[in-house]
């Protein structure tokens, strides 16, 4: 931290470069330990002879209700997905609420019903929780924190660690990108775009478990805040390899594409809440693609790029017109409070 005048800016929570720096330079500096230093979506813990995954996530999304879901559904999906991409079978979650005085009981009930319904769908049990109410104006309507634990099978324990990535490996995503971020943005900013962009918010654990059960996955991560670009940049940083993406096969709905064109955003930087990026060898990749396409959450799955030995540490996009450009992590604060 440079000097005493420095303050937290919204960009520090955006999931991009600034947050990365904050974690590196402050949190890890003080909290560093072998488990945390792995910086995976969920911590991998040895408890007796079992390995379990443990994760936590806070939800401050504005607005609370958006096309495709609400903060309650999101709070379950987010934690379930963090466990699932760590190779774990999600089992139990906690739900803590910070509620603003004056919040409508009726809205709270709808949100709680969504929490319960999504937990049931994902097959996780809500086993503990906490409730706090703060004075009006001291928080914005409702914030939710969920934490979760899951059991890891031995064969899946390295799936979040990107240990064996090789040039030639393929990068797969289970459908269109940018839907969540743009749906929330459209709901919040009242642009009145005549488009039906819906959040992709969904629990991916059943689909992921099927993929892990039948094929060999080298790496998995859910591209939430900071989008696909941020996850892949973290991957090339870690592996010292390069990634080449192909824009012509990138799944993006026309609504998201149009909103991004108008607002000057890059769909690769926009948050997803029902997507998983998978890295696998080319041979396994094709099998995984076929498997994903049979699942309702993976109908539009595609191989969007591959790992290369060229340009180590950089993600490069081959665009539709034949040009190439570097895809950087998101810097600054593009879309605050989308999850």
């Amino acid at each position: 931290m440079k000097n005493r005048e420095n303050k937290i800016l919204l960009g520090h929570g955006s999931g991009g470069r600034m947050m990365h720096d904050l974690i590196e330079n402050l949190f890890l500096k003080h909290f560093s330990n072998t488990i945390l230093d792995e910086q995976t979506d969920a911590a991998i813990l040895n408890v007796g002879s079992e390995e379990i995954a443990f994760t936590t996530d806070s939800f401050v999304i504005d607005p609370l209700f958006f096309p495709g879901g609400n903060i309650g559904k999101l709070a379950v999906c987010g934690t379930v997905n963090d466990l699932a991409v760590s190779g774990a079978e999600p089992l139990y979650i906690s739900v803590s609420m910070i509620i603003e005085e004056g919040f409508l009981m009726q809205e709270l009930e709808v949100i709680v019903e969504s929490l319960a319904a999504e937990a049931k769908k994902a097959g996780v049990i809500i086993v503990t929780g906490d409730t706090k109410v703060v004075n009006k104006g001291k928080c914005d309507k409702l914030f939710i924190n969920t934490a979760g634990i899951g059991r890891i099978k031995k064969e899946n324990r390295f799936v979040s660690k990107a240990l064996d990535i090789q040039p030639g490996d393929v990068i797969i995503i289970n459908g269109t990108i940018g839907d969540h971020g743009m749906a929330v943005m459209n709901a919040r900013e009242s642009f009145n775009f005549r488009t039906s962009v819906e959040s992709d918010c969904a629990s991916l654990n059943h689909m992921i478990s099927e993929v892990l059960g039948q094929s060999s996955v080298k790496f998995m991560r859910d591209p939430t805040r900071g989008g696909v670009a941020t996850v892949l940049n973290e991957l090339v940083e870690k592996t010292k390899l390069g990634i080449e993406l192909d824009e012509s096969v990138m799944p993006v709905t026309s609504g998201v594409k149009a909103m991004c064109e108008l607002l000057g955003f890059d769909p690769l930087h926009i948050a997803n809440e029902g997507k998983v990026l998978i890295v696998a060898s080319e041979k396994d990749g094709n099998a995984i693609l076929e498997l994903l396409k049979k699942n309702e959450l993976g109908l539009k799955s595609a191989i969007i790029g591959r790992v290369v030995s060229d340009h180590p540490g950089k993600v490069v996009l081959k665009n539709e017109t034949g040009g190439r450009r570097i895809v950087d992590s998101l810097s600054g604060d593009q879309l605050p409070r989308i999850c």
Binding site: K7, I8, L9, L10, G11, G16, R17, M18, D21, E189, F191, S254, K257, A258, E261, L263, G264, V316, N319, E320, T321, G322, G323, R324, R325, I326, D328, S331, G332
Partner: protein
């Protein structure tokens, strides 16, 4: 996507590229004035499709980048006043002023809100009658009519707490100033959306008096390549003139209604440009009869003399004399997450574009 994909067709772009290579002989320098054009050139990798004797340089057409340090410092001073809400387009909040930025002032408790239309600022003013709402007006002939329309609307609806700090600018004087200063330019790729408002006549003197080619261009890669081809044809045949490539949007006379609104609200003034100094009759000031909405008339603040950041060569980059890679700060001390100069902040800034699409 309809009306976009058609203008990004690879084979069409390549065929224009081939044509260019076959007719281009002279060494020519073309300036794309608009930040949107700079973005398109880099995003679609158009440099690599041009013959080596055609050089594209970037000009002073990014509104955030050319806004003076004094303007940013003034906005900052307003943001510290009690009961003031600053409304602004997103990019501006991260531009470093002499000592701080609007983003940092927001973290200090100032009420700074990002909006997507000036009409949102009017709404905020209506909903917060006890506050004074200032809109930071930046941009060229494209965005200035919207600000003008908002001011007229505020007058009509008698909204007393809406103010505009105008840094609006007009395009032709700065283009002329660069030529007069001796920057080597053979032709301009002119911004299509400016002419959608103003029409084409604003560039006539550049062609007739300065002997420069001007092609008013759209923003997609096919548009850009086509514009370069049109300019090359003009320059190869020695017949520089004003032509419209962006015919699907630009009409010869422009948008008369928007022109009238602009005329009713603003008058020309000498204005400061970042790194370029004061350029005569290049800025837009709110007319006296609407001064009730002019933030400069309403707020009395002391703005200390502004200082440009040390080592930053934004000024020379905006003139097309240097490129970001010539700057010692570029991609080292100056990055999008920690920008030193305005050209690194705006999504359309030359430095941000070079950074984003560097290879």
């Amino acid at each position: 996507m309809k009306y976009v994909d058609e203008y990004r067709k690879k084979d069409l772009i390549l065929s224009v590229s081939e044509k260019l290579k076959s007719i281009s002989k002279k060494e020519i320098v073309l300036m794309e004035v608009c930040g949107g054009h700079t973005m398109a050139i880099h995003r679609f990798g158009l440099h690599s499709l041009l013959p080596s004797n055609i050089k594209l340089i970037s000009g002073p057409g990014c509104p955030v980048c050319v806004s003076s340090q004094h303007f940013i410092d003034t906005a900052m001073a307003y943001s510290k006043l009690p009961g003031v809400i600053i409304t602004t387009y997103g990019d501006l909040i991260r531009v470093p002023g002499s000592t701080t930025s609007l983003e940092k002032e927001r973290a200090n408790g100032s009420d700074v809100r990002i909006i997507y239309s000036v009409l949102d600022a009017l709404e905020i003013a209506k909903k917060n009658p006890e506050k004074r709402v200032v809109f930071l007006g930046i941009g060229f002939e494209t965005t200035a009519p919207l600000t003008a329309a908002a001011i007229l609307q505020a007058k009509k609806e008698e909204i007393p707490n809406f103010f505009v700090l105008s840094a609006h600018k007009v395009m032709p004087p700065v283009m002329k100033a660069l030529v007069d200063e001796g920057v080597k330019i053979d032709g301009f790729i002119a911004p299509g959306h400016v002419s959608a408002i103003t029409g084409t006549a604003i560039y006539d003197t550049l062609a007739s008096e300065c002997g420069l080619g001007v092609v008013i261009s759209g923003f997609e890669p096919v548009d850009m390549m086509h514009s370069v081809l049109m300019l090359t044809k003009q320059l190869e045949s020695g017949t520089p003139k004003v032509e419209v490539q962006y015919q699907r949007v630009v009409q010869h006379d422009g948008n008369k209604i928007a022109q009238q609104i602009l005329e009713n609200v603003f008058e020309l003034r000498d204005d400061q440009w970042r790194g370029l100094g004061t350029i005569p009759k290049s800025g837009l000031r709110i007319r006296e009869n609407l001064s009730a909405f002019d933030a400069e008339k309403h707020f009395k603040v002391d703005v200390p003399e502004s200082t440009e950041p040390k080592g930053c060569i934004c000024g020379q980059i905006l003139r097309g004399l240097k490129t970001p890679v010539d700057c010692g700060l570029f991609a080292k001390k100056c990055t999008p997450s920690d920008p030193v100069g305005a050209c690194m902040v705006s999504g359309e800034g030359t430095c941000a574009t070079y950074y984003k699409y560097r290879s």
